[in-house]
């Protein structure tokens, strides 16, 4: 264990070093192995399984199944309910995203303009974000109740006769979108506030020296441009959340009346777990997955391109 060690041939030394380094390899692999196992077992394996299921006629509980090619997808695309659910989801997203983002932005700007009651406002607007949607959906259900609901009572005071919001084909989706905005805009507000805090004061000073010192000028030339990246981010986040709308639909309308408020995820749930049409449900899942992944990827691309100022 002395100088002799170093007189051994170079190859042996190299081998010894390789051993220590592979020891580090081993350690690293040991550290990642649980995650790797679960990644395969709980994420990638299941995704492959869903694709596989979507090509079979398998029903839960039965022991046999056949590959039926793309028959499930053909059935899906021939199903008017699916198209209804898809359009409804898109309409829902188209209402909730701008509503949430705009409301969140306005509230954030107003909260940040002066310190009065700032803490109260922030907490108050954030409360819906933290609340359990299934419980609050029940509450909303009573608020939108045609006779005893707060909404119609308020309208009644103003001399307007309300409708049965959640049972009316024309308003059901709209009412759900309102609930979606209610829950989401506080979060958008918080993200905008953190974006506002990141705007350097010097920019306002510079704008003031350049003559843009009015509230609207500052907003137009400094604040809004600087909020570009955050806005993009909030839009993406809200869109993703809106595509995942489920709780309020399940609790309040279950897709009704007459599929007027049916959305993708609820469709997926009922087909797969109420009717146990696993093959059909899997095909729907594949479509849903494709939509979400496509959305995320395009938006990530957009995000990379659009919002880099530095």
């Amino acid at each position: 264990m002395t100088a002799l060690d170093c007189n051994r041939p170079r190859e042996a030394a190299a081998k010894a070093r390789l051993a220590t380094r592979s020891g580090e390899h081993g350690l690293a692999w040991l550290a990642v192995s649980p995650a790797l196992l679960l990644l395969v077992g709980l994420l990638f394996g299941p995704v492959a399984a869903v694709v596989l299921f979507s090509l079979t006629d398998w029903q839960l509980g039965s022991f046999t199944f056949h590959f039926i090619g793309i028959a499930n997808f053909r059935a899906l695309f021939a199903d008017p309910t699916f198209w209804k659910a898809l359009t409804n989801t898109l309409v829902y997203v188209a209402i909730v995203v701008p509503g949430t983002v705009l409301l969140g932005l306005v509230v954030a700007l107003l909260i940040e303009t002066s310190p009065g009651l700032r803490g109260f406002y922030r907490a108050a607007h954030f409360l819906p974000v933290m609340s359990t949607m299934s419980a609050m959906a029940i509450v909303w259900g009573t608020m939108l109740h045609p006779t005893i609901g707060l909404v119609n009572r308020a309208l009644g005071v103003m001399g307007i006769s309300g409708v049965n919001w959640l049972r009316d084909e024309r308003t059901a989706l709209l009412a759900l979108a309102l609930i979606g905005i209610w829950q989401g805009f506080g979060f958008a507000m918080v993200l905008f506030v953190s974006g506002l805090k990141a705007v350097p004061q010097q920019l306002y000073d510079a704008a003031a020296v350049d003559g843009a010192d009015g509230v609207l000028d500052r907003l137009r030339f400094v604040t809004l441009p600087m909020l570009g990246p955050v806005t993009m981010f909030v839009v993406i986040l809200t869109a993703k959340r809106s595509f995942e709308v489920f709780d309020s639909v399940r609790v309040l309308t279950q897709g009704g009346p007459n599929y007027a408020s049916e959305v993708l995820l609820h469709r997926l749930y009922t087909e797969s777990f109420d009717f146990l049409h696993m093959g059909y449900g899997a095909a729907l899942t594949v479509v849903y997955l494709a939509v979400i992944v496509l959305l995320t990827l395009t938006q990530a691309r957009l995000l990379e391109r659009r919002v880099h100022y530095s």
Binding site: A3, D5, A19, T20
Partner: protein
């Protein structure tokens, strides 16, 4: 006893070679500094000695033993980092205690919660406390033991980092640019303290810096590195007076050494000094080796471009006659005043003239070569 021997160390990351076959012997108890521009591989070399990086080939010996298959903690080395690398969530005391605890407590005793209750831990802790207090008073940080690193000034953090290395009584101290995060005044003060620490501990110090002044003032020997290769390893004064390589000559000394190419010299109409080797391509001379004389034929002539008065010395920046290149001249304040715009001649002390060939290698004067032959 801890001399360090590096044999043909090579290290590359992918395609880029960082260290290219470095061999170096560091004596026991020596203060050796690795100096070079950033990216020259000096820090990598230090990390290889510490065992934090594995070399691709070559061997590291500490105290005559090959340590290539030893983990960092088994090598009996301590390291002080540029950022100090103190654990921000631990108090100064716990920062200093950590290396001792990991060495002296068994695995079971180190377990969270349970470990505290195990027998024998109390005695070890008592001994550790005593040692830390001793080291802390030596470094003048005894009053800081309860604080967290975030509450300390840069200089205090530096001392804690030194303390953490010290308490282990390692055979080798490795220091990676330990002073570069301090302000100028503190840096000079800490230099002196590290030298004193080295003298008191008497163990081997390997010190990495890009600051040639630090290297010159602190070390027994300096190893100059560039592009992954060792250019020269020598005592500071020898590096200054007798560099083997033009790059060494240019790196050591401030202001920089003056270099005039042979062709330039001739084109200026100046006669070459006696004893120029035929391979010599560059003539180099320190600012203090130049005297100001009246301009004239056959001399290196120029115009004083600017004057920098430092009080103790005056530096003249002299632009050569053809307007290409500048020579820095150090003059004594008592010497004749020179103001900008004056035409002057430069007289170089032939004994202090250094000659280098086209590749930058030192050429000894021709007489000496002949004498040797």
């Amino acid at each position: 006893m801890a001399e360090i021997e590096l044999r043909d160390i090579e290290k590359s990351y992918g395609e880029t070679a960082i260290v290219k076959g470095v061999s170096l012997s560091i004596r026991d108890g020596e203060f050796l500094t690795l100096v070079g521009p950033s990216g020259c591989g000096k820090s990598t070399l230090l990390r290889i000695i510490a065992g934090l990086e594995a070399q691709n080939s070559g061997e590291v010996l500490v105290a005559g033993r090959c340590v290539d298959d030893k983990r960092p903690k088994e090598r009996d080395v301590a390291m002080v980092f540029q950022s100090y690398a103190l654990y921000p969530h631990l108090s100064v005391f716990d920062n200093l205690a950590l290396p001792l605890r990991t060495r002296r407590l068994s695995f079971a005793q180190r377990l969270p919660l349970v470990g505290r209750a195990l027998p024998g831990r109390g005695d070890v802790e008592k001994a550790i406390r005593a040692e830390i207090e001793q080291a802390a008073s030596m470094l003048d940080i005894a009053h800081l033991l309860r604080r967290k690193p975030g509450q300390l000034s840069g200089g205090q953090r530096q001392r804690v980092a030194l303390g953490r290395a010290m308490v282990r009584h390692p055979a080798v101290f490795l220091m990676d640019e330990p002073l570069s995060n301090l302000d100028a005044k503190l840096r000079v003060q800490m230099r002196a303290e590290i030298i004193a620490l080295h003298r008191r501990l008497g163990v081997t110090f390997v010190y990495v810096t890009h600051d040639q002044a630090e290297a010159m003032t602190m070390s027994d020997r300096v190893a100059v590195m560039m592009d992954g290769e060792l250019l020269q390893v020598d005592r500071p004064e020898r590096l200054y007076r007798d560099p083997e390589d033009l790059r060494v000559a240019e790196m050591i000394g401030s202001p920089k050494i003056n270099v005039v190419s042979r062709a330039h010299w001739v084109s200026l109409g100046a006669s070459l000094p006696a004893g120029i080797h035929r391979n010599t391509a560059h003539l180099a001379f320190r600012p203090e080796a130049v005297g100001i004389v009246a301009s004239g034929d056959g001399r290196l002539n120029g115009v004083v471009a600017s004057v920098e008065n430092l009080g103790s010395d005056i530096f003249l920046n002299v632009t050569l006659a053809d307007g290409q290149g500048t020579v820095v001249v150090r003059t004594h304040p008592d010497a004749s005043r020179s103001e900008a715009g004056r035409s002057v001649g430069l007289q170089i002390d032939p004994a202090c003239l250094l000659q280098f060939d086209g590749a930058g290698m030192r050429q000894r004067e021709v007489e000496r070569v002949e004498a040797a032959a």
